[in-house]
């Protein structure tokens, strides 16, 4: 009977999709603004700035994209979990460590949920966190330079989906396992799922850059954990996670995990959990995981392997977790700006259930339990329920808030955004999306203080929305004006990868802090050359290290000889410019790796094995100046055992010029490497 009902729901859903797609074209014309109106609202004149920075996850690209809103202009793609040959991230010697895991260098991941750091529950523009879903990791991006500066691997987990949602003062970001797995991960029969598989909720200390660490993990029943959000205001100190597959299926979850009428939202009192850890109630469990950090001064990443976590079993610490029955395979769990309402997005449900924090606290005090699961009390559904939004549409997933008492829920199956009123649970407006919306985002819409002017719908399917580009089409984002009583579609733009979720923040909170260059005098890279005089070449057995500078419009040295086939050559190239937006690149003929891209003041290293005698040109790949095309050089490779002496030269004329310019105080060597390495240039 239950099975039949499910099938019926899905069939109805399919009919709904069909019905909606036939009506949506008409709705589109009727509902949208006149074209000129909408255009003027998203037009940002040349040379003018957007009002918001929006950070959209790149999904299966493993990266993150920065867009301006309302224009939808792509400003940058930030390298996070995937190697990026465009920038050399994960290819050059300095950044390979960022992608290290206990499984080795993982060159890709699946980014899902960007999360801005918060102060007092409001996004503050310091950092951005994002999860790697496949090999669970959390990355920190520094919003002063828009670069990944730290990545922490999450042990005892697989599929870090409910991540990296943040607590109101950025103390913790969380990561809950999507897959339950054996903890610790060992060789067990898959059909021993119920006995051996467990979920974990990780609380990761996040308020110290470069020092992310797992404060504790909570051992949970073997469910799938989907999404999470921190409480705020009255519910501050609580964290809410959705679960599905409370059926504990391990095969054909599509069917087997869709049987229960209700799954759970797990409410975690992390203040109480913290106290239990402090009281020694957590066990130190062996767990190997890596922590990779980018040193700010040297801009060299390094990895550290950690060996254990504090594991907290709720049975050892009653009162830290409660389960709130929630229909039906809930996806999103979203807390309204006041912190009172906890909205579940039951993706197969016919209502949007909303729990009340006040009722939750009372139900716990009154012990209104309906059984327990592995020592975790299950609360009665009606004891915590504040209300249900009836007939919202099909497939509610995620809810954000405008700060004016309204909530907006994305409906995947019926492909629309539904606006409803908190407290009365009545639907006040709906707007179609094109097509199959996943997350939606209002700047600050998951925080204590939303900037409720725009809503961004992120869609999975674009079909006929843009010029066709073969079987694979882009995903899209749609900007909707929510400033008035009726939602209005303003703009529709394609995105990189799959924008699962996004965050946005007023530009002023980031713009002024944006870095213009890396300090050359503060560059502590072990192979930096701070001036042309500090460049050079040295041999250490079969390794040859070339210290080189790039400055408009030449490399120094640019003629290198004495390398022999079989040598491993390290090009340590420093961009000694100290000028905004003056980048240089370095690419070597035939090198089986990416180019280097060098920010002003930055050192990057290409490792290359010289395999065959010959002459190998190299050149600057980032158009730097009028004489960019002259910015090139040659490396000569001789046969093994050849008597060609090792040399790294620039022309005498260039050396004279360099000496002239380097008289200028700021370009002078600030105590960088001297000694043998410094002797080569000009020594012909």
């Amino acid at each position: 009977m239950i099975r039949f009902r499910t099938k019926l729901t899905l069939t109805l859903a399919a009919i709904g999709v069909a019905a909606l797609s036939t009506t949506s074209c008409k709705m589109n014309k009727a509902d949208s603004l006149t074209v000129g109106d909408a255009a003027s609202k998203v037009y940002v004149a040349p040379g003018k700035y957007d009002e918001y920075y929006a950070f959209l996850s790149g999904g299966f690209s493993g990266q993150m994209a920065v867009y301006g809103l309302p224009s939808g202009r792509l400003l940058k793609v930030m390298s996070v979990f995937s190697q990026n040959p465009e920038t050399g991230y994960g290819y050059n010697e300095e950044t390979k460590a960022m992608l290290q895991t206990t499984h080795g260098l993982v060159p890709w991941d699946d980014t899902h949920h960007p999360e801005l750091s918060q102060t007092d529950g409001v996004p503050d523009g310091r950092w951005l966190f994002i999860n790697g879903n496949n090999t669970p990791r959390i990355a920190r991006i520094d919003l002063a330079n828009f670069e990944t500066t730290e990545i922490l691997e999450i042990p005892n987990a697989a599929g870090g989906h409910a991540s990296p949602f943040i607590t109101p003062n950025s103390k913790y970001v969380v990561s809950a396992t999507r897959f339950s797995v054996p903890v610790p991960n060992t060789d067990v029969p898959i059909n021993s799922y119920k006995a051996n598989f467990r979920g974990t909720l990780s609380f990761i200390r996040a308020d110290q850059p470069g020092k992310m660490d797992i404060a504790f993990q909570i051992l949970m029943p073997g469910y799938n954990y989907d999404l999470g959000h921190a409480g705020k205001g009255p519910s501050d100190g609580w964290f809410f996670f959705t679960t599905y597959n409370t059926e504990q299926a391990y095969t054909k979850l599509e069917l087997n995990a869709s049987q229960n009428d209700k799954d759970y939202i797990a409410a975690v009192n992390y203040n109480a959990a913290e106290k239990c850890v402090a009281d020694g109630k957590a066990k130190s469990a062996p767990a190997k995981y890596m922590h990779n950090t980018m040193n700010e001064a040297s801009r060299v990443a390094s990895s550290e392997t950690k060996q254990s976590v504090q594991m907290l079993d709720p049975r050892d610490c009653p009162g830290i977790v409660y389960l709130l029955p929630t229909p039906k395979s809930p996806h999103g769990v979203d807390v309204d700006p006041t912190g009172e309402y906890i909205v579940g997005g039951g993706k197969l449900a016919t209502v949007i259930p909303v729990h009340s924090y006040t009722k939750l606290a009372r139900a716990i005090a009154d012990k209104q339990f309906d059984g327990e699961m592995q020592g975790i009390p299950i609360l009665k559904y009606n004891a915590t329920l504040a209300g249900e939004v009836k007939n919202p549409g099909l497939g509610p997933l995620h809810t954000e808030f405008d700060g004016k008492g309204f909530a907006y829920t994305s409906m995947f199956i019926s492909s629309e955004v539904v606006k409803w009123k908190l407290g009365t649970w009545e639907i006040v407006d709906r707007i179609p999306t094109y097509y199959s919306i996943g997350h939606l985002m209002i700047p600050g819409g998951d925080s204590r203080k939303p900037w409720g002017k725009y809503l961004l719908a992120m869609n999975k399917i674009t079909k006929d929305r843009y010029l066709p580009t073969g079987p694979e089409l882009s995903q899209s984002a749609q900007l909707i004006d929510i400033s008035g009583p009726k939602m209005k579609l303003l703009l529709d733009f394609p995105t990189i990868g799959e924008p699962h979720y996004a965050q946005a923040i007023p530009a002023e909170l980031i713009k002024a802090n944006s870095k213009k260059l890396y300090s050359l005098s503060g560059n502590t890279h072990p192979e930096v050359s701070k001036s042309e005089a500090a460049t050079g070449i040295r041999r250490a057995g079969k390794a040859v290290h070339i210290k080189m500078v790039a400055i408009r419009s030449h490399f120094s040295p640019d003629n290198i000889e004495g390398v022999q086939a079989g040598d491993t050559v390290y090009f340590h190239v420093t961009n000694i410019e100290q000028d905004w937006d003056i980048m240089h690149g370095f690419a070597l003929f035939g090198a089986p790796t990416s180019e280097l891209i060098l920010g002003p003041g930055e050192t990057r290293t290409m490792k290359w094995v010289a395999s065959a005698p010959g002459v190998y040109p190299f050149y600057c790949t980032d158009f730097c100046s009028a004489l960019h095309q002259e910015m090139q050089g040659y490396l000569r490779v001789s046969a093994p055992g050849s008597n060609v002496p090792l040399s790294a030269n620039t022309s005498p004329r260039a050396a004279t010029q360099a000496a002239r310019v380097s008289k200028a105080p700021v370009l002078a060597n600030h105590g960088g490497m001297r000694g043998p390495a410094a002797q080569a240039p000009g020594g012909r």
């Binding site: 410019e577 100290q578 905004w580 010029q657 310019v661 008289k663 105080p665």
Partner: protein, 353 residues
């Protein structure tokens, strides 16, 4: 604080200053201290690639970039045109200029303390000469940087030199160079002006011709452009247009060009006819107020009306100038631009141009 006035000062001989010039001298001297801390000159470069501009400041003892790396970037860019890098260590003036300013400050205070009038005059004189020499030296360095280029420069444009302006704005290839005094330089200028003012105040009522001559010379730059020209009506001056003698203090006017050259006229019509032949852009024009003989009106304050019957003016044409304040609503009155336009039209008719 009560300033003690010694009896011998109150009855001071003519060679001593009064209180105000001394205070001004102290102020002027102390103001020079600003030169040690504030930038004297600011040179700023803008280009399409540098909308935010890059700049550097000339200080008394050093040269510093507007931003941390601006000076290095200026030098970096200048290597393309083969200009020598701007390096403070290679400019010896930056070593001894502080001493000169220091000596000026101390001697200024000493001069004020001595109260001697001649000390004041001498100090301001030395200050003036130093300032002129400093600017000349600055120009010389600019010339050297702009002209003395590496023979193998990357970018060589025949005839192109890169001397920044001493003061003002100049286009140098893709860069617009602005060069203006900065706060320290302005402070020094004010100090000099205050010194000159002290001399003028101390000189007033005194028959010190030497001092008057010196400061007359200094002030002449201002006087030439701002003071009202004088006209004689005894027949010694002739009309610059019709060559007739100027005798009537009620009619005519005078033009002083930007270079200070004076042209006198016996009638406003002659003046207008003359004005139609030259570029009046930076010249100053006055006309004689018919109702107040001998009084010159700036031409903008004048209206031109037909002369009373029977009055013979110059070559005829017959207009006189009256103050616009007194003209009331006379329908026959013309403004200067109208009179000038008529003269230009008349000239075109004659020359056919």
């Amino acid at each position: 604080m009560q300033v003690r006035r010694s009896p011998d000062r109150r009855t001071s001989p003519a060679s001593h200053m009064k209180k105000l010039p001394r205070v001004l001298l102290v102020f002027s001297s102390l103001l020079l201290i600003a030169m040690f801390f504030l930038p004297l000159w600011h040179i700023r470069l803008e280009a399409p690639q540098y909308p935010e501009g890059i700049s550097f400041y000339i200080m008394l003892r050093s040269i510093v970039g507007g931003g941390e790396f601006d000076l290095a970037n200026v030098n970096m860019l200048n290597h393309y045109i083969g200009m020598k890098p701007i390096v403070a260590a290679s400019i010896p003036e930056l070593k001894w200029m502080p001493w000169i300013v220091g000596v000026l400050i101390i001697t200024g205070l000493l001069a004020a303390w001595s109260g001697k009038y001649k000390a004041l005059v001498a100090w301001v004189g030395v200050f003036t000469v130093t300032a002129i020499a400093g600017l000349a030296d600055f120009y010389r360095w600019g010339y050297d940087y702009g002209h003395n280029l590496a023979p193998d420069a990357i970018i060589k444009i025949p005839g192109m030199t890169y001397q920044p302006p001493l003061i003002g704005t100049k286009q140098l290839l893709n860069f617009t160079a602005h060069s203006w005094p900065a706060t320290g330089g302005i402070a020094a200028g004010i100090a000099l002006a205050v010194g000159v003012l002290a001399v003028i105040l101390a000189t007033r009522g005194r028959r010190s011709l030497g001092a008057m001559a010196l400061f007359g010379l200094l002030a002449s730059g201002c006087a030439q452009t701002s003071a009202m020209p004088e006209l004689a009506f005894d027949g010694r001056e002739a009309c610059a247009y019709c060559a007739m003698s100027i005798t009537d203090p009620r009619t005519g006017g005078v033009v002083v060009t930007s270079k200070g050259k004076k042209y006198a006229f016996d009638s406003v019509d002659c003046l207008a006819s003359f004005a139609a032949t030259i570029d009046l852009a930076s010249a100053r024009v006055w006309v004689l107020d018919f109702e107040h003989p001998g009084k010159l009106l700036p031409v903008a304050d004048a209206l031109f009306v037909p002369a009373p019957a029977g009055l013979s003016i110059g070559m005829g044409g017959g207009r006189i100038a009256i103050s616009s304040k007194n003209a009331g609503a006379r329908p026959d009155a013309q403004r200067w631009d109208q009179l000038l336009a008529a003269a230009v039209a008349a000239r075109s008719a004659v020359t056919g141009s």
